[in-house]
Structure formats: structure tokens, C-alpha cells
């Protein structure tokens, strides 16, 4: 059972890390379309949309790299969890207000309600998996070991 847990932990951390790396690199490559996506949510003040569009992609890359490399997995899982909650709230308010948004998660896509529901579903899965990674005892043990070494 413990071996299965460890295998699932490793697979999920690499999968989510890879997803965040890929998503972040795509946005770094074309920040203006991502800024357009952020603006379509109509929740970020216009004066700081550029900061979100420039800061979020490297944050995704850093968190993704941490998960893939296995460095500070707990903290990275916490970051992914927080970001996924924020994305979920942003998508939910867009759906509630009937906004046609392009989530901009993986490059640009045609804004549609169906795509927004899909993105919301993906984010709920991310919340669940990153929450599990964060709470996973195998990584807590690794972190305790690291803290002890410091």
C-alpha cells in the first residue's frame, strides 16, 4: 500500500509539475495574449493586469520545476493549491456573470462557456491532487528530514 502511495505521489507530482511548466512557458512566450485573457475576466484592475500577466507565468514555471525536481515539494504543492483555488474562483465568477472568457491556461483558445467549464473541472482536479500532495505523509517525512538537516 505504501509503495502504491509513493508511486502515485511521484506520478502526480511529475504530472502536475510538468503541466505547470508547460503552461508557464507557453505564457512567457506570448505574454500579451495572456494579458488579454486576464482582462477578459474583468476582476483585475486594468492598471495591474501587466503585473499579473508578467508575474504569473514565471511563478508557474518555478512551482512546476520544484515539483518535477522534487525540491520543496510540500511548499510547491501549497503554491499550486493556492493558485488553483484562485483560478477556480476567477472561472466561477466568470460563469456566474455569463462572461465569455478565454482562460489562457495553455496559450490562447476561443472564449466559450464550454471551455470555461472544462477549465473549471481541471482546476477542481488540480485542487484535489495538489491538496493530496500537500497533505501526503511521505513528503512531510522528507520535509522533516530536510528541516533537521538545516
Amino acid at each position: 500500500m505504501i509503495r502504491w502511495n509513493k508511486a502515485a505521489f511521484l506520478a502526480l507530482r511529475i504530472l502536475i509539475g510538468g503541466l505547470f511548466l508547460y503552461s508557464g512557458i507557453l505564457k512567457i512566450a506570448s505574454p500579451q495574449p495572456f494579458a488579454d485573457s486576464v482582462a477578459s475576466f474583468e476582476i483585475v484592475p486594468l492598471g495591474v493586469i501587466g503585473l499579473v500577466a508578467l508575474g504569473l507565468p514565471p511563478l508557474e514555471v518555478l512551482l512546476g520545476a520544484m515539483l518535477v525536481s522534487g525540491w520543496r515539494v510540500r511548499a510547491a504543492s501549497f503554491g499550486v493549491f493556492l493558485l488553483s483555488v484562485v483560478f477556480c474562483l476567477a472561472l466561477s465568477q466568470a460563469l456566474a456573470r455569463g462572461l465569455q472568457v478565454d482562460c489562457g491556461c495553455f496559450g490562447t483558445a476561443q472564449p466559450s462557456t464550454w471551455n470555461t467549464w472544462l477549465s473549471l473541472g481541471r482546476d477542481i482536479l488540480l485542487i484535489a491532487t495538489s491538496g493530496w500532495l500537500y497533505a501526503s505523509p511521505s513528503d512531510q517525512a522528507a520535509d522533516r528530514l530536510r528541516s533537521g538537516n538545516r
Binding site: 492598471g47 501587466g50 508575474g55 512551482l63 511548499a75 493556492l82 476561443q110 500537500y134
Partner: protein
């Protein structure tokens, strides 16, 4: 057993530090970009208007006779088949390179100024032009139509169904080699 609130607080602080580092990386890389992103958001429409103003530099060309605002699949297909005018693809350049309507030229909304400068020689104000983008919900074709009209090309229509309707109808495609 460590206090979970202390652990969460520690992880949150670490997240804040990582977020600040990420923001600094983002700001620094933005400085190195050929076209940096503005911190205060400038809408697609405003960016295109700015590009049009730069291109026209205040001059107002005389417009020709107008085409209908929007064309549907059948007339657009006929327009393409018989090469009745110019077809412009307002999607991103990479999308155009992957596949486009046969004979369509790339005039992406995002890089309008540069793409227009490169295409200008092939565009004729007296020739009908049809612009398309992804599909019914995309606004890029309408924005490019407005920009071209502002530049004096009044025979500009939009193919409303866009690339999604074109491909769904099994129409021919072309890719850049």
C-alpha cells in the same frame, strides 16, 4: 507533531517569496522583449487603433464602394474559389502557418502594424477583401476589418463562421511550407 498552522504559515511565506522572485523575473524578461507588455492594460481595440494611426499618420484615404459587413460560407467559398479578391487571416501567425484558407494572407490582429507593412504592396484599396479568424465568437476579424476601413479599405467584409466553420464544412486547406 508540528503545529499545522505553523506549517501553513511557513509554506505561505515561502509562496510569497517565490511569487516575488517570479514577478521580478517577469519584469526583467519584459525589459528584454522587442514589444514589452504594458503594466497598465491596453485593450486589443486600443492597440489596433494605435497601430492604424501610426500607419496612416493622420492622412485619410478616400474609401471605395462598400461590401456587406459579413459574408456567409457559400459566398465566401465562391470568393475563395474564383479568387474574387483578397482573403486575410486575422489569427495568430503561427496558426496561419499551420493551416489556412487557400490563398489567404496573414494579417494577425496582434501584430497588425508589422504585418500590414509587409503586406501593403499586395493590398489594393479598390479590391474586395474578406477577413476571417477562429470562428463565430472571435473578434479579431472584426477588429482587423475596422482597422482596414480606417485605413481607407472600405470593401472589407468578415467571414463570420471563420476557420472553425470552414474546416467543419470540409473545405480545402493550405499550409505554409
Amino acid at each position: 507533531m508540528a503545529n499545522p498552522f505553523k506549517l501553513i504559515k511557513r509554506d505561505f511565506l515561502f509562496f510569497v517569496v517565490i511569487a516575488i522572485v517570479a514577478l521580478l523575473i517577469g519584469l526583467l524578461t519584459n525589459l528584454l522583449r522587442e514589444k514589452p507588455v504594458a503594466i497598465a492594460y491596453v485593450s486589443k481595440e486600443a492597440r489596433l487603433d494605435r497601430a492604424v494611426q501610426e500607419i496612416s499618420q493622420g492622412s485619410k484615404p478616400t474609401p471605395g464602394p462598400a461590401l456587406p459587413d459579413v459574408v456567409t460560407l457559400a459566398p465566401f467559398s465562391d470568393f475563395v474559389k474564383h479568387r474574387r479578391g483578397i482573403v486575410l487571416d486575422a489569427r495568430y501567425r503561427i496558426e496561419h502557418q499551420l493551416a489556412h484558407v487557400p490563398g489567404a494572407l496573414s494579417l494577425p490582429r496582434e501584430d497588425f502594424a508589422e504585418a500590414y507593412a509587409a503586406l501593403k504592396g499586395q493590398l489594393d484599396r479598390s479590391q474586395p477583401i474578406v477577413v476571417y479568424c477562429d470562428g463565430n465568437d472571435c473578434e479579431d476579424s472584426k477588429l482587423v476589418q475596422k482597422a482596414l476601413r480606417d485605413l481607407g479599405y472600405s470593401q472589407v467584409a468578415v467571414f463570420q463562421g471563420g476557420w472553425s466553420e470552414w474546416t467543419a464544412a470540409g473545405m480545402p486547406k493550405e499550409a505554409n511550407r
